[in-house]
Subunit: 173 residues, 2 copies
Amino acid sequence: MTVSKTAEKSSGKPADAAKGRKDAGEPQAEALQLGELSEQLGYVLKRAQLKVFENFLRCVASLQLTPAQFSVLLLVEKNPGRNQTEIASTLGILRPNFVAMLDNLESRDLCTRIRSTNDRRSHILVLTDKGKAVLARAKKLVATKHEARLNDLLGQANREALLAMLAKIANEF
Amino acid sequence: MTVSKTAEKSSGKPADAAKGRKDAGEPQAEALQLGELSEQLGYVLKRAQLKVFENFLRCVASLQLTPAQFSVLLLVEKNPGRNQTEIASTLGILRPNFVAMLDNLESRDLCTRIRSTNDRRSHILVLTDKGKAVLARAKKLVATKHEARLNDLLGQANREALLAMLAKIANEF
DNA sequence: CGATATTTGGTATGGTCCATAACAATTATC
DNA sequence: GATAATTGTTATGGACCATACCAAATATCG
């Protein structure tokens, strides 16, 4: 597959190599045939994922949160008192790569590392008040602007079916 | 969201920070709560995408093809005589990044750049005989090992519904 | 107890992918 | 025929991912 983030200079959908295709009378090199590509799970999946992330970023742009950061805040809120290793591995983040991420969140006063008294090796992660507030606002934005759009596009039932299938793939494929 | 490729050193599913969870009698720090994370479209989507790519790579490992390379070969076969810009932009690949990719495929004698006689700036892309043969084998592997697995997992009808929804997201989100 | 192994957070580093700027050669435009 | 646009390309930087390694703290076991 392939699918990068900012499709050429052209419009949104990358599948139009040609310019301002309308129905004008230009010599216009006709559009390419996607062919079997549109049946490839990985291709469509990646395309969809990029679009969703892109939309997510726009929706929470005012809070300056990436999908990854949002997931960290969500998980820390739901599981306060856990250490870096636990949070990171649950999200599939490798511990070394989690350090800079936490440095960022901590520098913005969204979460805090606390030396555990039981095990003085580990850092307990906790959301700051600001972190909780930002997360609350992020949730609202995501719910009303981002996830709601799926319902408009697919309908409630289909949206749930989609999530269920994706979860199944993520867990059993 | 987040989701890296090789979840920690632990097993497959990243959602088990703890070790060999069974039902033994260890002090074992209980598993984390995913919470609202499992309802986040982007999170589940990314997770699924990583799993699918991972499986794709395994299925065509004998041919040494990445999803991106596979998509290029597919598109060139379906649209012979197109130049680099057209193929790249259709796939959402930026032209500068497409150069090294083609260098690779060409060095393996899977496709060829041909100077166009009409426009001597552009390179026409064509699959070599070896390229066609490799692609044919890849298709077979993908169909029988990769895509077939989706049917086993979701069933034919659901698989088609999933692809349709993903395509809709990719195009209209 | 004390030697050894393991775990935790962290640093350093390299790879891959993605994005932008710039350039020469060629072609289009006026 | 001068200027603009296009094509393939190089160079470069950023983001993300993965591995090896380290010191401090803890666990394990003789």
